[in-house]
């Protein structure tokens, strides 16, 4: 019992440390409430800068995360699911109490560029500062000017849904040391202006790598293989490899196909679905043609990928695929064609389709279960749709037909198992 009595010593130290931290944070807050730099302040009021910022905010698809289902745009509240817990996106309208009303540009820049919040807290990388760090200061001023021009919405976000130990922000110090390298995009003088613009949009503002790259154990992006495809954790979709070269996910795509899918939601090679349909609907369909072309120029230059060595499977999927072929003939061939060729501009081809043959089989399985519409865009205002088969096909039938389309024609992807279908049948949609 005697040693227990001595516990007051660490307790007092902890209390003193907390008090010191509280005092320090308040001091910082008082300091940052200082007025805006006059040169920046005048830019923030400039209608031209605000208009540019609006375009850039769309290119960065800020609204997609910072808006709750049915909520006011940019007023936050959407919960971003991560393997570590749910992280609510904050209100970024200029409301003084619940949004960015009290922020100066320097606060915004520090968050965007270095991932550090206004109260010196380390931000969770659900906010993609790992990509946004590449955004230029000039563009950041424009985005901030636009956000500050929005009508303020009083809306307090939900509390952080992380539990111990992930709720300890200081643990991010180690994470950042491994996965985060701050720095504005550096132009590559060997490449064209369009290529550089494309790289800037793809790697920076557009933050494509946040989904289209593999993530390590601690949720960091594996930087050795940018844009080589990755599973989107907890949302259960696979963001395909974006290389158009040999063995890439978009092998055979022309620059026009890339422009088409980003602008209208569909191309002769495939349709945007799942989270990418959201990206097209709220962001890329509004991009200027020269920016879409720039993105295509950059993606077309991504290197060929090493040939994937087929995993020898203990499972003989022949009979499964045969059964799947029967289902395909009955349910799918009318629209997608008996040879998986699709109907241009209406139904996507399945032969050689990146979303069909991606390594996990998640996308094809969920597409069969959920069906749905291609995204509504100005270029495709009344899209065709696919029936959801979750209500009509058993898990075994879905596994069979997905295995069939992954192995028919020129496709050579791994089979999908019944247990995978069971899992994806119950994946929440958001």
């Amino acid at each position: 019992m005697r040693h227990l009595r001595l516990l007051w010593i660490p307790a007092v130290i902890v209390v003193m440390a907390l008090a010191a931290r509280w005092w320090w944070m308040h001091r910082q807050q008082a300091m940052s409430a200082a007025t805006e730099d006059p040169a920046i302040a005048s830019m923030l009021k400039d209608p031209g800068v605000i208009a540019k910022g609006r375009y850039l905010a769309i290119a960065g698809d800020c609204v997609s995360c910072h808006t709750a289902q049915g909520g006011q745009p940019y007023a936050g509240g959407r919960l971003l699911p991560t393997p570590f817990g749910n992280i609510p996106a904050p209100n970024i309208t200029p409301d003084a109490e619940t949004g960015l009303g009290d922020w100066r540009f320097e606060d915004f820049w520090r968050a965007l560029h270095t991932g550090i919040g206004r109260h010196d807290e380390l931000l969770y990388p659900a906010f993609s500062y790992t990509s946004f760090t590449k955004v230029s200061r000039e563009d950041a001023i424009a985005i901030f000017a636009y956000l500050q021009s929005l009508p303020p919405v009083h809306h307090l976000g939900r509390p952080l849904g992380l539990s111990f130990p992930y709720n300890i922000r200081s643990a991010l110090t180690a994470w950042r040391a491994v996965y985060f390298k701050p720095g504005v995009y550096q132009t590559d003088p060997k490449q064209s202006a369009s290529w550089n613009r494309g790289a800037y949009l793809v790697l920076g503002l557009g933050h494509c790598n946040e989904c289209h790259a593999a993530r390590g154990t601690w949720g960091g992006i594996v930087t050795q293989a940018p844009l080589s495809g990755g599973e989107i954790p907890t949302q259960e979709w696979y963001a395909p490899d974006l290389s158009t070269q040999a063995n890439g996910g978009l092998q055979g795509w022309s620059a026009q196909d890339i422009v088409d899918v980003l602008k209208t939601g569909q191309s002769s090679k495939g349709v945007a679905l799942g989270p990418m349909a959201d990206v097209v609907a709220s962001s890329t369909q509004y991009l200027r043609d020269d920016d879409l072309q720039a993105i295509a120029d950059y993606l077309k230059s991504l290197p060929a990928r090493p040939q994937l060595v087929a995993q020898p499977s203990a499972l003989n999927s022949k009979s499964v695929a045969d059964h799947g072929g029967d289902i395909y003939a009955q349910r799918c061939a009318d629209c997608h064609g008996k040879d998986g060729e699709g109907v241009p501009g209406v139904y996507p081809p399945l032969d050689g389709n990146a979303t069909v043959v991606e390594p996990t089989g998640i996308n094809a399985t969920r597409a069969v279960l959920l069906g749905g519409f291609a995204p509504v865009t100005a270029g495709n205002p009344r899209p065709y749709s696919m029936p959801p088969y979750a209500q009509q096909l058993s898990d075994a039938d879905v596994a069979a037909v997905v295995t069939y389309i992954r192995q028919a024609w020129s496709n050579h992807a791994a089979p999908v198992l019944e247990r995978d279908v069971i899992k994806y049948r119950h994946t929440p949609i958001d």
Partner: protein
């Protein structure tokens, strides 16, 4: 002979190509440019004419419901006021204009009603159901369904749906959803209010009576403005005045 042999392929090649092109085209599935074709995602569960799913008691009939009501439901799924994952996913990216067009399509469909299975219940239960539908329960402050859904229960333009011909499973699950907050409408949400005033057994009673009730010959909704809602209803834009 030599000349002829070398000439023939020259002019035949374009013709042959044109023929192949034509054949390839004919081989491709031809897709009708109709709304009905475009909305396969809707009709695979709700039926090509919105008649509801044959056999199943869950997917509701859409045919002939007021277009305003149907469009509002799509919007409510988009906003998360109504919770049903497959519907939320299907409508998430649709534009207001497209949702309206789809709503108009189903509202304009006139197809016969099909009797859906109803559980075998005691006569007293059905009696209680009829009482709730036609006169309500003043003690529970539950107004009769007819007050808003129309004398013939065929709905009221522009936004009150008909209740005739709906499956038992669908009606009871909707009333349950209003109690648990997975179905909601614009505030003040009068249907949530009513569903919460009902006893659980009343839900069975009212769903069973409605599902077994004969469909009247004229299933058109009542005209707009023909009802005085007994409760404040957001969807009826404050037409109601009661409690």
């Amino acid at each position: 002979m030599l000349v002829q042999r070398s000439l023939a392929p020259r002019w035949m090649l374009p013709l042959a190509l044109a023929l192949c092109g034509g054949l390839a085209h004919a081989d491709q599935p031809s897709v009708p440019d109709t709304l009905q074709q475009r909305i396969a995602a809707c009709t695979s569960c709700h039926g090509v004419h919105g008649e509801g799913s044959p056999g199943s008691g869950f997917f509701p009939r859409l045919a002939g419901k007021p277009a305003g009501y149907l469009a509002l439901q799509l919007q409510n799924f988009q906003r998360g006021l109504r919770k049903y994952a497959p519907m939320e996913y299907t409508v998430r990216q649709l534009s207001p204009a497209y949702m309206h067009e789809i709503a108009e399509y189903f509202a304009a469909q006139q197809v016969p009603y099909e009797r859906k299975p109803v559980p075998d219940l005691a006569a007293s239960v059905l009696q209680r159901g009829e009482q709730l539908v036609t006169s309500g329960d003043p003690e529970l402050k539950v107004p009769p369904c007819q007050a808003c859904h129309g004398k013939a229960l065929t709905g009221t333009e522009p936004s009150v749906p008909g209740l005739v011909g709906l499956p038992y499973d669908y009606i009871s699950s909707q009333l349950g959803s209003w109690r648990t907050g997975t179905r909601a409408s614009a505030a003040p949400d009068c249907m949530a209010e009513i569903a919460n005033r009902l006893a659980p057994a009343d839900i069975t009673a009212v769903a069973a009576w409605l599902a077994s009730h004969d469909v009247p010959p004229d299933t058109h909704p009542q005209p707009a403005g023909s009802i005085t809602p007994p409760l404040h209803c957001g969807v009826l834009e404050g037409q109601g005045g009661g409690t």
